[in-house]
Amino acid sequence: MTTLIVVILLIFGSYLVAVLENWVNNGKFRLTAPLFAAMAMLGRESILSHKPDRLFFEVAPALLLISALLAAATIPLTPNLIIADLATGALFINAALVYVLVALLMAGWGPNGAYAMIGGWRFLGQLMAYAMLVVMPITAVVMRAESLFTTEIVVSQAELWNIVYQPLGFVLFFIASLALCFLPPFDLPTAEGELAGGVEAEYSGVRLAVFRFGRLTLIITLSAAIVVFYLGGWQGPLLPPWAWTAIKILTVTAAMLITGQLMPRVREAHLLSWGWKLGIPLALLNILIVGILVLVFPT
């Protein structure tokens, strides 16, 4: 039952993200556009490119969607609404999200086209830059909560949200999330201006619909993860838990989408350079600071 509710909420959430994205990118607020786009995509032909790796081509969009759903399975929307409250929840989110990389590699290699292939391998380079910046802030969050249960992570923020407790971690995790769901300014695999759509370029019809849906689910899953790890989850005065979760997730998503509009794409060389030379030392510093705080001010 909870699974069904969560999946429906995810679908609805994806719809809202699509509306938001349209509004942020084009300035137009159209509530029906994503619905028409989805219906139209389902009615279009699904074309195979010349000599594709058929297995990869078909599996990639599905894998993207599955990995996003798996990650969403351990995220609590309200104290009772969580599909699987795993004891290693915080780590499992990361494990599921790594398969986004595998999906994009498949999507890049499958169509047997130059643009898609370059997009796919670029994402591997991107992962090298952001992978540590996902895990290390989560480590710091878990240190405070002293547990990998996502519900306990939320509960540990009852007095002070993590965004105040470990702002450095928040900034790093936010940036890494942008890179993980390849939103601008980290949209290297699907760059319009450099690769004419890159990994997405060869997909059409049903497969494109699944790919896009998977991407939207990924965005909302990551927003939910940010909310759970840093913004206190469902906690807040006055409104019921689900309302707070919804408001926070939508705010974070809007912030993620707006950030992308405001700057040009980061060069791959810079992404890797800053990720390793700046990001990882900062993440380690964050762990150090949080460690000291946790020991000095035990709850």
Binding site: A114, M117, E192, E202, M263, H270
Partner: protein, 716 residues
């Protein structure tokens, strides 16, 4: 003859789907969004969404008329679009027969809006149909050819074996019409997975001199006397054998299906046939016993007599009784895993008349047996050692990737056939296929017609070329132009400069993924283009705000700093030159501008960042000039006085937004007999290839974008 509908029976589900499609129209613009904006069309405002890939588009929007080659590329794009699809043609263009429009309209915003309504109607009714025909165009026909995986220049029309190495030829599908140019999304050309030999290292360029000896496998090894190649141990062969000295041998060049030269692609320096036989002959000489033969690629094959390998078809070579007699082979079987001993990397059989394994590092393997093949180890690090590499120094696979002519990140109409090693550019080939305009077909007395013709040359800069023509003719006839008229012309030219730079900013925003800039610059450009003098004054504050905002963008400097310096001692013009410290500006020599207080802006830096800043500063400067000019009017030819002499020569130069353009005209007996034009884009064209060499793809495209080249001008 419906080529755009999808073959399905109409039912309720299809009706809903068709309705959804009619509300969700995605467009791919030909020749490009910049041309659309230059024609004052706001595509997004009319209800169409612009997409980057033809596979995501449902409408093909063709603006104006297309040259023959552009029409071919448009046909390729249409063929790649997913059904249901429609063609919208704006302007009374004569489209070729194979590209018939479903909806036509005039080139205006109203025309576009009504056309979109018609398109919605079309999709609702015709998205699914029971009678659908295939789309056919000459350019889409393909043929099958057969190529050797090891020698990509060996191409045949029928299956068989490679004459050089004997391997079975592999099937490949290519375009039948080799004159057509690849379009942006052509994916057949150089599949990364195709089993072609570009993973083998490309032979390096060679200086051929006679009397020297070279290695058939390593042409960069050149010695004065015969001996063994230090890299692979093969016997060196005289260079005279190499008939025609072809310098570069690119394994991948032959993959370019548009190149008609693939059959001329000589293996001159590496006349494998003779060389291989030579080495085989050495084998025969040095073989002491045993008639066993093996395949250089599959050492586990052992036969008693010569023949072909059953797995790959290559000629079998004799095994030395003492050692592994693998013949010369591109894949350099290195028995040697220790990289510091690569000089020991010998193709056995060539160097060991005696069985000397002491120098080889095989660990504890037993070599007394003949069947060395199983224990062999192919060090791919050695094989890829000499591959030309991009800037990141990784030996990646080579791919041919055509970019253009409708690629979203490049100026529309520009075709860059790039060869990428991984994602670094290693080879560039430029093509332009844009227009069929001829400057002067025959001597004409129609001066107005000449001016109009020149104004149509570059849809992105009509005022500049119009002015150029007027000034040239007035210069030839020695006509007087009043200050008023001149000031109004200045106003028009500067307005076009602002519009052109804003257009460039919008394209730059799209290329670098800077969404805000793309939207705002495009909107502002449309407003400025249609504004008269009063309107421009009202827009001045918006323009200033945009410029300031761009200069404060985070990460913009990081994205563009040190990207794309121009090579030394190469002539440049316009903002590209002025960003490199030059002060050269055609307006500096014109008294009309100097009166308004013009002085050229220049800066140093010579990279994409400084060019960006220079163009932003020029926008502000042009705004000031318009205010001083106090009027805007399209340049019109003034009444020319009667010619004083029989033959008159006139010339003019105008600083267009991209650089200086020059026109020379010759008037004889009141008719124009000769005209010659130099455009800034043509001057910058040879810069592209050296500037993007070895750059990563994103940087390469930013570099090309920063040059602000217009392919429409590149024919002159």
């Amino acid at each position: 003859m419906e080529t755009g509908s999808r073959l399905k029976k109409k039912s309720v589900l299809q009706k809903i789907s068709a309705f959804a499609m009619s509300r969700d129209l995605t467009a791919f613009i030909i020749p490009g969004v910049d041309i659309a904006r230059a024609n004052n069309l706001d595509i997004e405002a009319s209800g169409l969404q612009i997409v980057a890939s033809p596979r995501h588009a449902s409408v093909l929007v063709i603006i104006g008329s297309l040259s023959a080659k552009l029409a071919d590329s448009a046909a390729i794009i249409y063929a790649q679009m997913v059904r249901p699809r429609a063609i919208l043609s704006l302007g009374e263009a004569q489209l070729p027969a194979f590209l018939s429009a479903n909806v036509t309209a005039e080139i205006s915003q109203d025309g576009l809006v009504s056309a979109v309504q018609d398109l919605r109607q079309w999709f609702s009714n015709n998205a699914f149909s029971e009678e659908v025909t295939d789309f056919e165009a000459g350019v889409l026909s393909t043929r099958i050819e057969y190529v050797c995986p090891m020698h990509p220049e060996v191409v045949q029309d029928e299956p068989g074996s490679c004459p050089k190495c004997g391997m079975f030829l592999v099937k490949r599908e290519v375009q039948a019409n080799s004159n057509a140019v690849n379009s942006a999304a052509q994916h057949d050309s150089h599949a990364p997975m195709a089993a072609t030999a570009h993973s083998h290292k490309a032979h390096q360029s060679v200086d051929i001199a006679s009397g020297k000896y070279t290695c058939p496998m390593h042409p960069e090894v050149v010695q004065d006397e015969p001996g063994s190649c230090p890299k692979c141990g093969m016997h060196l062969v005289p260079m005279d054998e190499a008939a025609n000295a072809e310098a570069t041998h690119d394994c991948c060049k032959s993959e370019d299906e548009a190149s008609a030269e693939k059959h001329e692609h000589k293996h001159s320096g590496h006349d494998h046939k003779s060389h291989d036989h030579k080495s085989h002959e050495h084998h025969h000489e040095s073989t002491e016993a045993s008639g066993k033969y093996t395949c250089p690629m599959h050492p586990e094959i052992a036969q008693d007599g010569p023949g072909s390998c059953p797995k790959c078809g290559m000629h079998l070579v004799p095994m030395d009784e003492a050692a592994n007699a693998e013949a010369t082979h591109d894949c350099c079987k290195s028995e040697d895993e220790d990289p510091t001993e690569k000089h020991e990397h010998k193709h056995a059989g060539h160097d060991h008349k005696s069985h000397d394994h002491a120098k080889m590092n095989h660990g504890d393997m037993d070599h007394s047996k003949m069947d060395h093949g199983d224990d062999d180890f192919m060090s791919m690090v050695d094989v890829t050692k000499d591959l030309p590499r991009g800037d990141d120094d990784l030996p990646m696979e080579w791919i041919d990737a055509p970019f253009g002519p409708f690629f979203p990140g490049l100026p529309s109409g520009l075709v860059l056939a790039l060869t990428l090693a991984g994602d670094a550019v290693v080879k560039t080939e430029i093509n332009t296929i844009t227009s069929d305009i001829i400057l002067l077909e025959q001597p004409t007395t129609d001066f107005e017609g000449f001016v109009d013709n020149l104004a149509r040359l570059n849809p992105l800069a009509p005022v500049s070329y119009r002015l150029l023509a007027c000034l040239a003719l007035e210069n030839a006839a020695d006509a007087d132009v009043s200050k008023q008229v001149m000031k109004a012309r200045i106003g028009a030219l500067e307005r076009e400069r602002i519009a052109s730079h804003l257009n460039w900013l919008a394209e730059f925003g799209q290329q670098t993924g800077f969404g805000w800039l793309q939207n705002h610059a495009a909107n502002l450009q449309l407003k400025i283009q249609q504004a008269d003098f009063a309107g421009i004054l009202l827009l001045a504050s918006e323009v200033t705000k945009l410029v300031n905002r761009v200069q404060k963008t985070p990460l913009l400097k990081a994205r563009t700093k040190n990207i794309g310096p121009t090579p030394k001692d190469v002539p440049t013009t316009g903002p590209v030159a002025r960003a490199n410290g030059s002060n050269h500006d055609a307006r500096n020599f014109d008294p009309a501008w100097l009166e308004l207080g013009f002085s050229p802006i220049s800066s140093t830096g010579n990279d994409a960042f400084s060019r960006l800043n220079l163009r932003l500063d020029e926008i502000l400067q042009s705004m000031e000039l318009i205010k001083m000019a106090e009027a805007i009017a399209m340049p019109e030819l003034v009444k020319l006085p009667k010619p004083a002499a029989v033959e008159l020569i006139g010339q003019s130069s105008v600083e267009t937004a991209r650089g200086m353009a020059r026109l020379h005209v010759t008037l004889q007996n009141s008719s124009i007999t000769k005209a010659s034009l130099q455009t800034p884009s043509k001057l910058h064209e040879p810069l592209i290839a050296p500037m993007i060499d070895k750059l990563e793809l994103g940087d390469a495209l930013t570099t090309v974008q920063s040059l602000d080249i217009s392919p429409w001008e590149m024919r002159f």
